[in-house]
């Protein structure tokens, strides 16, 4: 992360990865990535980090917690509907 363009890239990295950057900005970023190994590593590992979180199994609500929720709201009659 040593060139003058690195902070500019860092600021726009999420927009680039989310497909929200303009075509002009994308082209600028890709030109920079061709010549800056550090930024390329950061972009690749940032993209992988996001992917890993998208694939992370979600914690589940325990059936007993659901039961307690219905009871606490006086809605037990709807538990089996």
């Amino acid at each position: 992360m040593e060139t003058a363009r690195c902070p500019h890239l860092l600021e726009n990295m999420s927009a680039y990865l989310d497909g929200e950057a303009s075509a002009e900005l994308c082209a600028e970023i890709e030109r920079h990535l061709d010549g800056c190994e550090d930024c390329r590593v950061v972009v690749d590992t940032l993209r992988k980090t996001i992917t890993l979180y998208h694939e992370l199994p979600q914690p589940e609500l325990h059936p007993e917690a659901r039961l307690r929720l219905y009871k606490s709201l006086d809605l037990s009659e709807f538990l089996n509907s």
Partner: protein, 199 residues
């Protein structure tokens, strides 16, 4: 966001005091409310209490809900506020109330520059890695954590996340970006060590 149209119909039934609509609302939204509370608080029993408080408060205040945000977004807002009150009680010095941070300025320069993307898939899917991913979320500052959880894990749009947290869309975008960078920085030593072990 899940079925906004059917949420509008559900909202009308809730406003009429239809108890079966309350049950339907719970079925539809309690898993997400619970997950957000759990990831903010890191404690199952407390997350369950926040979930109960959220639905109790929502059903009591349903007539005051103007419907400018979606029903789910409103429930997330209530859950976040309830969780935040608990965090402030537990760690008052660590949860700032104001919003003075210049989120768009001074992004931390990444220091972890090892490319660990080529690790075998089994390393990314292990229970140890999943635990490391969860720990890294928990170690984020609350302001960044809640945006990351809503936007990235619960799939709310940027606008919905901003509405739920009563912040601007730009603030939501910047906080998400900072959260992602911090998570990458936090996880990189773990994956770098794995990569060096594999080599």
């Amino acid at each position: 966001m899940l079925s906004e149209d059917s949420d509008r119909v559900l909202l009308e039934r809730l406003r009429r005091g239809d108890k079966s609509a309350c049950a339907e609302c719970i079925e539809r939204h309690s898993p997400g409310v619970y997950r957000v509370a759990l990831r903010l608080l890191g404690h199952e029993a407390e997350a369950e209490e926040v979930m109960q408080e959220t639905f109790l408060s929502a059903f009591k205040a349903i007539d005051k809900f103007e419907g400018r945000a979606g029903l789910a977004t409103w429930l997330y807002r209530i859950a976040h506020n309830a969780a935040l009150m608990r965090l402030r009680r537990a760690q008052p010095e660590q949860v700032s109330v104001d919003d003075e941070e210049a989120f768009g300025e001074g992004l931390p320069v990444p220091t972890q520059l090892h490319d660990w993307c080529c690790l075998p898939e089994r390393d990314f899917e292990s229970s140890e890695t999943r635990a490391a991913l969860e720990r890294a979320i928990h170690d984020l500052p609350e302001k960044l954590r809640v945006v990351f959880v809503m936007r990235e894990l619960e799939g709310l749009s940027t606008e919905e996340t901003a509405q739920a947290l009563e912040i601007s869309i730009d603030a939501a975008k910047v906080r998400l970006h900072r959260a992602r960078l911090q998570l990458r920085e936090h996880l990189s030593p773990y994956f770098t060590e794995l990569a060096q072990t594999e080599a």
